[in-house]
């Protein structure tokens, strides 16, 4: 029974990706019997390349993707290097939690509230610093043609993600001792960090960084809010064509999805080559023996703007809350003049139904993911065999393959199974993304549990099942709940997966918020965006407080 769980897990989360890729690849070459296209041709590609904005869309995609991934990495490294080992580090990690818990879309909506010409920042400094008494009409701060606002949106999510990955990796490296050892030889602290600590962290943040590259190149939800509309980035263009009433547009859309996949694969191969080259030249850099260098001033210099970006992310969440409770907020006032619950009341019907669907889907996907992951890990410890590196790559597959390259194909398959537009389909699609995150956050604490607890229990006569339920699961309650909170947060953030698998018929807060993003008033957007951030954040705090209540009298688990 238990032995069946690992293969079942692999099937459940990899089959949708592979089937979906195939189901998008064929239409890209003109084969989609469902709409009567049965002849293979290059016509979809031709109409993609002939689309008037194609060149700029491609350029935009590449510049946003490259800029966002490199800046995320540099910022996360600079912040963690500067703060690790100081008393600020713990507070820094706490401050990241709201940004980690909030979905991409919610932060994008809040950021738009913050940096728009009529947004909070301009209101705070007007008219004193700017002289503006009405929102400046000629200022473009969001949806700018170069996608800089979109890059900022990506940074507010990807820097915390990489910073947490770096922090987790730091736990497995004797960083402070390495630095002390290097300082005793005359190296400065920052140089020691870059030369000794970072190279040892890299293998563990390689895949998270690749996921950031893939996401930044193919982002859709944030681009709908912060990115330029005409031409949009490639992935948004594909999503737009996939939802066109003209079904013939499916074919060039599929071609765009496949091109997106090609971009990501090329990008990742390029990363690999750069890593290889850096490893060669880096050795020389290490062996030259220079005790200090650019790292001295570069790290703090990069850390400062990074901290500003993260602060903007937190302010963006606050802006959502403010606008959702604002009764009147005339321009250039720093804060709303009066407060009201009206927006919450009027949105309550919409909010309630979408919140119910959201929670149902998130709980189901997370529960299934937890059971599968715990089953896989238990099977792993019973067979005393750790899976190789290949499994880790498989686990990251849904995070590396652009969503737009397989969700359409998945929808086609779901239609054939008569599952499209059902809750089951949406839960399954969410599981594809929830499962890797749940597994990754559960695997380390599980494997770190001293195996002698289980051996001791067995020598007392406890069966494997009893050991699992009465020893391992209770001791690991906290990481299990945290993994659950991560799963819920991931599910609540899913936009494209919900749209495609739900066939537009299932509304969650993510789809509602983005549907309303361009049309509705700010108060309603504030309500939906804020709700989308608050629910995952509540789950996180529950996951952290519940074990403390249950094990109030158990210091060994503190």
């Amino acid at each position: 029974m238990l032995a069946l769980i690992p293969p079942a897990t692999l099937f459940l989360f990899l089959a949708p990706v592979l089937v979906g890729l195939a189901g998008t690849l064929l239409p890209a070459f003109g084969y989609l019997p469902a709409i009567g296209a049965t002849g293979f041709s290059l016509a979809p590609w031709r109409s993609l390349f002939d689309w008037p904005g194609f060149g700029s869309a491609l350029r935009l995609t590449l510049s946003v993707g490259v800029l966002a991934s490199l800046l995320s990495l540099a910022g996360a490294v600079a912040l963690v290097a500067t703060l690790s080992g100081t008393r600020w580090f713990a507070r820094f990690q706490t401050a990241l939690t709201p940004l980690l818990a909030s979905p991409h879309a919610a932060i994008a909506l809040g950021l738009a509230f913050l940096i728009a010409p009529s947004g909070w920042i301009v209101r705070l400094i007007s008219p004193e610093l700017t002289g503006w008494t009405r929102p400046p009409g000629d200022l473009v701060t969001i949806r700018d043609p170069h996608g800089l606002a979109l890059v900022a949106g990506l940074l507010t999510k990807e820097i915390p993600y990489l910073a947490i990955a770096l922090t987790a990796a730091l736990g497995q490296v004797p960083a402070q001792r390495l630095i002390a050892c290097a300082r005793a030889m005359g190296y400065s602290r920052n140089t020691a960090w870059l030369k000794l600590v970072l190279p040892r962290l890299w293998p563990q943040i390689r895949l998270p960084f690749y996921a950031v590259v893939a996401y930044s190149l193919s982002v859709v939800d944030q681009a709908l809010v912060l990115g330029p509309g005409n031409p949009p980035p490639l992935a948004v263009l594909a999503a737009r064509w996939f939802s066109d009433y003209d079904l013939a547009q499916y074919l060039p859309a599929a071609a765009a999805g496949m091109l997106q996949l090609g971009l990501v694969v090329t990008g990742l191969l390029l990363c690999r080559c750069v890593e290889f080259a850096l490893a060669k030249t880096g050795r020389h850099w290490l062996e030259r023996g220079r005790r200090s260098g650019m790292g001295e001033w570069l790290l703090p210099l990069a850390a400062a703007p990074t901290a500003a970006v993260l602060a903007a992310g937190l302010l963006a969440l606050l802006a959502l809350a403010l606008w959702s409770f604002a009764a009147s907020w005339p321009f250039s006032a720093a804060l709303p003049r009066s407060w009201t619950l009206a927006a919450w009341m009027s949105a309550s019907g919409r909010l309630q139904s979408s919140l119910e669907a959201t929670c149902l889907i998130a709980c189901a996907a997370t529960l299934i993911a937890l059971i599968l992951c715990l089953g896989c890990l238990e099977q792993e410890s019973r067979r005393a065999r750790k899976p190789g590196n290949g499994v880790l790559w498989l686990l990251y597959l849904p995070l590396l393959v652009p969503q737009i390259a397989f969700l359409f194909g998945l929808q086609v398959a779901l239609v054939r199974l008569r599952l499209d537009g059902t809750l089951v389909a949406v839960i399954w699609a969410h599981l594809v993304f929830v499962l890797p995150y749940v597994f990754l956050s559960l695997a380390d604490p599980w494997r770190a549990l001293d195996p002698r607890y289980a051996r001791g229990a067995a020598s007392l006569g406890a069966s494997p099942a009893r050991i699992l339920f009465t020893v391992k699961l209770p001791i690991l309650l906290r990481p299990i709940l945290v993994a659950g909170a991560v799963g819920v947060a991931v599910s609540i953030g899913q936009y494209l997966a919900t749209v495609f698998a739900g066939a537009g018929r299932i509304a969650t807060i993510a789809t509602e918020a983005l549907t309303l993003a361009s049309g509705a008033d700010r108060a309603t957007i504030g309500v939906l965006g804020f709700a989308q951030s608050v629910v995952p954040l509540l789950c996180y705090s529950l996951a952290l407080t519940l074990p403390r209540l249950i094990f109030a009298n158990r210091r060994g688990l503190a």
Partner: protein, 218 residues
């Protein structure tokens, strides 16, 4: 002339453990009569821990190749699962379950066929009193001193009614004063209950105090 049929003895018959090509332990024969303590000594990597893992049933067969038999009271348990062998185990660390109270840890060890709640409770309380810890049942194990925790771990192992006891350097983390008294307590309990004991240690004092056979691994 092995007399592994001695009633209540723990016997190893022709135990060989290989890592890669090399034999860590080569055809070891050993009979430990009830109440006796046999000591295994040797440098790190000599196979001491692998031998204990083999006897307890935890040896990783993907890494090690093992032959030979383990007999408890004349019965071959080599193919039994660890939880069916009834061989108690004490580690260097006490490994009390951090999520259970002291008495919860002890009750975990009481065999399930004693179903009566009051009876189980009474056994646990008696064990606590035996260990000089009467009244400590409701405590969080993390609040106990190292010596107290070690005693709870011993009582937990004994409550599960083992037929033999394995000690994996169980005294090495205790300070010198505690070490002597806890060691005496473990050996005393084993003698009282007629348990054969197999001990792995670095400390020649332990071997001397045990007074039984000493196996030296190279």
């Amino acid at each position: 002339m092995t007399n592994d049929r001695t009633s209540g003895a723990l016997a190893l018959r022709g135990v060989t453990i290989r890592l890669g090509g090399a034999a860590l332990i080569d055809r070891l024969d050993l009979v430990i009569p009830p109440g006796d303590v046999a000591t295994v000594m040797g440098p790190s990597g000599s196979g001491k821990s692998s031998l204990l893992a083999f006897v307890a049933g935890f040896l990783d067969h993907h890494v090690f190749k093992a032959e030979g038999a383990v007999l408890v009271d004349g019965v071959d348990v080599t193919r039994e699962r660890p939880e069916r062998r009834r061989i108690g185990l004490l580690f260097q660390d006490d490994l009390l379950f951090p999520h259970l109270s002291v008495v919860g840890n002890l009750l975990f060890g009481v065999p399930a066929d004693i179903a009566n709640r009051a009876e189980r409770q009474a056994l646990a309380e008696a064990a606590l009193a035996d260990a000089g810890l009467a009244g400590f049942g409701a405590r969080d194990p993390a609040t106990l001193s190292g010596g107290q925790r070690a005693r709870v771990a011993l009582m937990r192992a004994l409550l599960s009614r083992p037929r033999a006891l394995l000690l994996d350097e169980p005294f090495s983390k205790l300070d010198a004063e505690l070490r002597g008294s806890f060691r005496a307590m473990v050996f005393e309990q084993a003698r009282l209950r007629g348990l054969p004991v197999l001990m792995v240690t670095h400390d020649p004092d332990d071997a001397e105090a045990a007074g039984g056979v000493v196996v030296r691994l190279a």
